[in-house]
Amino acid sequence: MATAAAHQAARTQAAHATSDATGTASGQEPGTAAYQTAFDTAVAAEERIEPRDWMPDAYRATLVRQIAQHAHSEIIGMQPEANWITRAPSLRRKAILMAKVQDEAGHGLYLYSAAETLGTGRDELLDKLHSGRQKYSSIFNYPTLTWADVGAIGWLVDGAAITNQVPLCRCSYGPYARAMVRICKEESFHQRQGYELLLALSRGTEAQHAMAQDAVDRWWWPSLMMFGPPDDESSHSAQSMEWKIKRHSNDELRQRFVDICVPQAESLGLTLPDPDLVWNEERGQHDFGAIDWTEFWEVLKGNGPCNEQRITQRRQAHDEGAWVREAAAAHAAKHSEAKHSGGQDSGANGKATA
């Protein structure tokens, strides 16, 4: 924001919002307070904040954190599913799974691009992921032990992700909201495929049915944890809701997800592993049992079943690929030098390792 361009953009935004929203006389030099007012007005009016607009430092920081974590989750989330690509039991299922894992890499790319509009870089974000300074969704620290886990991830994990993410399509930050529109379309497709996979197992042989039930038993509670801590322990929630980054509280979304899943589990012919799960006529919603928050915080701290494995594989892929990225950069630099040779003294030299 210290740059001249950002300052200019802020002024434009402030002037724009002032004349639009409040109709006060333009032409005066707005100070930070005016920028802030313009920003608040735009957010209140459900206008989208765009990359060149002025925004509070804390808003920018929150978005970078959230979008980066979201991107990291897509990338780490490839691992538990890719674990089954080479063992998929039919060619049709193998094709579906490959396409899904490819989509996730694509989602990661959209989201890193969205984060980059906030003035950060993909390399920097990956570095933070690799060094543990930025997190990814805790759900991906659970292992995929059977083929049915691929279905449970599609149905429950993608289902929870969609419940969380659909409201983000209306998020106040434009690039994030637009990325979410594309991502949510593909995610709902994945979710239906996961459901359909479980249905085939549930209606299959006894062994297949048991495999499906076991997977749902293991993924149900971790999926509920995807909505984050309970409202009274969620530190960022209030501010994010005020900024219209977030639209509903963690507990609201979790409740919505439970209410969606119960009838789906019934039509799947599978049970959910919660003896306290019961319809509450008065509330018009399901009551459900207590979440093991100790487990949640342990996984978040890095002590889940696969935290170490996931980050090690990610780092390894990155480190082992370093020579490839260096080669591409060196080749690009040579190529651009060659193109410019004979002409002006280009600035391409020394960029080989940039």
């Binding site: 690509i85 396409a99 990661g108």
Partner: protein, 248 residues
């Protein structure tokens, strides 16, 4: 194992033999590329390698379905019954090995499908669609061959080693396949000139050494494979074989 390769007419049998050879090539290479998921050097390559793997799997499914049930053929045949060339079963190795394998094989596939698309045989329709996909695969492999060959000293060495290591498996691609009526020596000449031109642009040396002979080349089409292949099949087939008769 109820798979039958025996369409009643001999013309059908010949087509089945050809479809099985090309289908196995695509199936096996797709599987190898699927092993890259989550391990690629850069995100864009996660997308690209998965995309190529998916194209190949799509080709395999169409081709195997011409022969019989795609899943029976993929999951219930043993090593000695597979007809793919040895090149596609070679382990991924480093990124350069994967790219060298892609360069050699996608060039072959593009030339082959290009020729098949021009015939009026039973594989012409499939070939006409697939040739568009493999043109993209070839482009991807060529670009990376040039980037790595003409990149850093390390990438140059790795790319040269990979090209050298896989060279012995390239001759087998030009053994005539029953049911595919093309001029194989002419296709081999086109392949050699295409690959040589790319290697030259990449500042690499065209490898020397044997490209024929049962163990160095040529035997995959007869069901004689290399050691890593059995292990690959064990992983691929394990779940399907553990639940006989189940649907997925």
């Amino acid at each position: 194992m109820t798979t039958s390769l025996n369409p009643a007419s001999s013309a059908g049998a010949v087509t089945a033999a050809a479809a099985l050879a090309l289908g196995d090539d695509a199936l096996v290479l797709s599987h190898r590329l699927g092993e890259w998921a989550g391990h690629a050097p850069v995100l864009e390559e996660e997308v690209a390698l998965a995309n190529i793997a998916l194209d190949l799997l799509g080709q395999a499914r169409v081709l195997l379905s011409l022969v019989g049930d795609e899943d029976e053929l993929a999951y219930l045949r043993e090593e000695r019954a597979f007809r793919n060339v040895q090149l596609v079963e070679q382990p991924n190795g480093d990124f350069a090995h994967t790219i060298a394998r892609q360069l050699y094989f996608s060039t072959y596939q593009r030339l082959l499908y290009g020729r098949l698309a021009g015939t009026d045989g039973p594989l012409a329709g499939l070939a006409a669609k697939a040739v568009k996909e493999v043109a993209y695969h070839q482009d991807h492999a060529e670009q990376w061959t040039v980037r790595l060959g003409d990149g850093t000293a390390e990438s140059h060495d790795r790319m040269q080693r990979a090209c050298d290591a896989l060279w012995r498996h390239t001759g087998e691609m030009f053994q005539p396949v029953d049911g595919i009526d093309i001029d194989w020596p002419e296709m081999e000449a086109s392949w050699t000139s295409s690959v040589s031109a790319v290697l030259e642009r990449a500042t690499l040396t065209v490898p020397e050494g044997p490209r024929t002979g049962a163990w160095s080349a040529g035997a995959g089409r007869q069901g004689l494979h290399t050691e890593p292949f059995g292990r690959m099949l064990a992983e691929m087939q394990h779940l399907h074989r553990s639940h006989p008769g189940a649907s997925w």
